[in-house]
């Protein structure tokens, strides 16, 4: 037990939280942008899986990280385009479409992997590239802080900048204003000449690009290769974080880090003789509890209960 506590209190643990939260932050930010435009999209799993494989393949065949990134982004955006076409043009049910794409993502990546490498499990035979690790000068030498914040994969820092970028996009740009208006009252937006479908498509593409980095982080950072279904629900946890954060970028970041800590704790506990599967369940249990919290807070607000108490106090 002592080992666990000392583990959790160590800077290493917080470092781990940031490390495991990175894909969640990307997924959550993607979900946020798309949600703001009023689209119910759950296809982030597929986007991230496609990007994870696309990045690996692109970088392995060209030995150029930049080409890998472009391939990863395009793979993810491909899913976003398919989703947009079906949901916005053909008006299919968004949840069913998302579900179908996620299954396509899972099967399609394994199929592509098998065609390219002859292996259905991992891409370890491909010599794919990784995103570099960044040691921040000066900060890396500060004890504790250096251990926590320095030495991360470059995408971890990118994910934090993405939060800022998404904030600016949503609240400070014309496009953000239009995305919000389209999401909240499409008729109002349409009546002043905003192209509703086009705006939603743009939001989806931005979401696809952000999600692609979450996917590429999995196969070119977190692990050095692609494995089947390696996103394993992180796209969904991102959606959950977006909900928990109420669609506000900074709260969504906090929610993503919160889910990330559950992930990190499960890593620590695995050193005990508790079955690994049980601990791997932890992040998802926390997600469900988190959503219950959101759900119940929708039922009776604090203000309401407080005010009722006040009135009761006056009348009795």
């Amino acid at each position: 037990m002592d080992i666990i506590i000392s583990n959790i209190l160590s800077p290493q643990f917080i470092y781990t939280i940031l490390r495991v939260s990175t894909p969640l932050v990307f997924a959550a930010m993607a979900a946020l942008v798309v949600r703001k435009s009023g689209i119910m999209c759950i296809a982030f799993e597929a986007m991230m899986l496609f990007a994870a494989l696309g990045g690996v393949v692109g970088s392995a065949y060209t030995q150029n990280l930049f080409v890998g990134i472009v391939a990863g982004i395009l793979s993810s955006v491909l899913i976003a385009v398919i989703f947009a076409y079906f949901v916005l043009v053909l008006k299919s049910n968004p949840v069913l479409t998302g579900l179908a794409l996620n299954i396509l993502g899972s099967g399609g990546t394994v199929f592509a992997l098998f065609v390219l490498t002859g292996n259905k499990g991992t891409s370890s035979s491909l010599r794919s590239l990784r995103f570099p690790v960044v040691n921040i000068p000066i900060i890396e030498d500060i004890p504790v802080i250096g251990q926590i914040f320095s030495g991360h994969n470059s995408l971890t820092y990118v994910s934090l900048f993405t939060v800022l970028a998404v904030y600016i996009l949503i609240y400070k740009t014309t496009l953000g204003l239009r995305i919000r208006s389209v999401g909240e009252n499409p008729h109002a937006a349409e009546s002043v000449g905003i192209k509703v479908v086009r705006t939603k498509v743009i939001a989806l593409m931005i979401g696809g690009i952000i999600a692609s980095f979450g996917g590429m982080y999995m196969s070119m950072g977190y692990l050095p290769f692609f494995t089947r279904d390696m996103v394993s629900g992180r796209g969904f946890i991102g959606i959950a974080a977006q909900n928990l954060g109420g669609g506000v970028p900074i709260y969504t970041l906090i929610a993503a880090l919160f889910f990330g800590s559950a992930d990190a704790i499960s890593n620590v506990f695995q050193t005990l003789r508790i079955p690994a599967e049980f601990m791997q369940m932890l992040p998802y249990v926390v997600t469900i509890i988190g959503l219950m919290f959101v759900g119940s807070s929708n039922k009776d607000s604090k203000e309401k209960t407080k005010k009722i108490k006040e009135i009761k106090g006056e009348t009795t």
Partner: protein, 526 residues
């Protein structure tokens, strides 16, 4: 006056407009509308008379089968709302085209956003809003969020929004439907001011008194045709109403004095707090007796809806007592309350009153399908249901192709008649009628009001909640006035009270003391 001048006099001419919908419904038949520059032109007609369709054609939302539009002397083709805006025709819709969580300034510039260094220039948006609001004397707080604004101000944002886009012609689609009498008066002042500034206004309404008070000329529609066009000063309310409905509408309901019996509904010290911690209903007490109609007057959003929902079981109960026949209704299921003969006309017929994707038949039996007579063994007794439904359709005069028509294809008035047919046919002892005639045509309104009086005469208790003062005064035997969640006045309506008096109470300009309220209520009970 020579011919040229005569043409120039009209800023907008719609000629021979015919619009046939895909389902074969002819909404407009050869309609002519001529609007003079700088006038306030009323477009009046019952629900389903074709006003909305005509305006949709003008605003580019529908394409007519025949006819042409001439704007400023040039024939134009308006293919979409943006084209209309570009030409200088703007519309204030009945359902506001605003984004609630955005500020007034952001809503104002949506679609034509000012930019600075690539980013949205919020300060400039605020400045533009202030300028235009100052120019046309329509004060507004640019920084307020639209969702926090009262309805009258939301409407003002809508008007400012189209003014900002530089229109010459403003179409207002039933703008007063959501306003209080005072807000309406204010709107009229604003519209007259805009007229002075040279704007042309098309004012859609079915309230005769408003048209008399505000408009210069009027075009009257009935069944998709023009039945009259003239200067308002040449007409009186009776003439207009005859052209609208083709007969004289009784402007007063024929009813005898109430013969109230025992109390059936008692509400004691009722409170309600909403999701945001707002104290919406504050210590409200009243009672309704069999054989009387208690009107609850008040501007919408002053706690009436919550009271109606609490009594009918739609809203979770909090504090106070509601007794029906001496028993508490708290935690009773809605079916249980209905089986005790409480009927409820919801203010929102699209969400609570009907299922819009279901047929008339399904809606009419939606509260009674489980009863014995509607079933035969374990299946529906379709013959019985068919007969029952067709009887109701006939009895309540629902205009439809058949009982299998979808509710959403009906006009507002007919939709409400379906609601009323269902609610009144369960032989209610207590009727909660919340805004029963809102937004529906004169004929249907009259029908529903008379039904309410009939039910009263048959011994039912009626709680009539309405923002329509004429309705409250004509139908009620006594009137409770609500303002900010409280009953601020309780009036005996044996001799009609005046709209002005009610209006003053509704807006909190006048308040009765608890003693005064008690006095009237005691008188009622004696």
């Amino acid at each position: 006056m020579n011919v040229d001048e005569k043409i120039n006099e009209y800023i907008l001419v719609m000629e021979g407009i015919t619009k046939i919908y895909d389902n074969g419904f002819v909404a407009n038949k050869n309609i002519d509308l001529r609007v003079k520059k700088g006038e306030i032109h009323a477009l009046i007609g019952e629900n389903g008379a074709g006003k909305s369709t005509l305006m949709k054609v003008l605003f580019g939302q529908e394409q007519p089968e025949e006819g042409q539009i001439i704007y400023k002397g040039e024939p134009v083709s308006i293919t979409n709302p943006l084209k209309a805006l570009e030409l200088g025709i703007g519309m204030v819709h009945q359902h506001f085209m605003l984004v609630p969580s955005l500020t007034v300034a952001e809503n104002m510039v949506l679609g034509i956003e000012p930019k600075k260094r690539g980013l949205f220039d919020f300060d400039q948006a605020v400045k533009l809003t202030k300028e235009i609001s100052h120019k046309y004397k329509l004060p507004i707080d640019p920084l307020a969020k639209v969702m926090d604004l009262p309805v009258g101000f939301k409407q003002r944002v809508e008007i400012l929004k189209i003014l900002l886009r530089g229109v010459d012609v403003l179409i207002l689609d039933e703008p007063t439907a959501v306003l209080t009498p005072q807000e309406t008066e204010e709107l009229f002042v604003q519209l007259r001011e805009l007229k002075k500034n040279g704007f042309t206004i098309i004012f859609i309404s079915h309230k005769l008194n408003e048209i008399m008070a505000l408009c210069d000329r009027v075009t009257i529609l009935r069944d998709g045709r023009v039945t009259g066009i003239d200067d308002v000063e040449n007409l009186n309310e009776k003439q207009i109403s005859r052209m609208m409905v083709g007969r004289d509408v009784m402007l007063t309901i024929d009813k005898t004095a109430a013969k109230p019996k025992e109390k059936i509904l008692e509400v004691k010290n009722l409170h309600y707090v909403d999701q945001y911690g707002k104290h919406v209903v504050k210590n409200v007490s009243f009672s309704v007796r069999k054989g009387e109609i208690l009107g609850v007057a008040g501007v919408e959003g002053n706690g009436q809806r919550e009271i109606s929902n609490l009594i009918s079981g739609l809203e979770g109960f909090q504090l106070g007592e509601i007794l029906y026949k001496g028993n508490s209704v708290v935690n009773k299921s809605i079916r249980n309350l209905r089986e005790q003969n409480i009927s409820h006309i919801s203010e929102d017929r699209m969400t609570f009153g009907t299922v819009s994707d279901a047929t008339i038949e399904e809606n009419l039996v939606s509260d009674r399908f489980y009863k014995k007579e509607f079933n035969k063994y374990w299946l529906f007794n379709n013959n019985y249901i068919k007969k029952h439904v067709n009887d109701l359709i006939k009895q309540y005069n629902v205009k439809c192709d058949s009982k299998d028509a979808l509710i959403k294809t009906l006009s507002g008035g007919n939709m409400q008649k379906v609601v009323v047919a269902r609610e009144f046919s369960l032989k209610p002892e207590l009727v909660i009628a919340n805004q029963p005639t809102r937004g529906i045509d004169v004929g249907s309104s009259e029908f529903i009001r008379n039904k309410l009086v009939d039910l009263r005469d048959d011994g039912a208790a009626v709680l009539l909640i309405s923002a329509d003062l004429t309705e409250i005064i004509e139908v009620s035997d006594s009137i409770a006035v609500m303002c900010e969640g409280q009953i601020v006045a309780y009036l005996n309506n044996q001799v009609h009270v005046s709209e002005e008096e009610l209006g003053e109470y509704m807006l909190g300009l006048k308040v009765q003391t608890p003693q005064e309220i008690e006095k009237v209520m005691h008188y009622e009970e004696s």
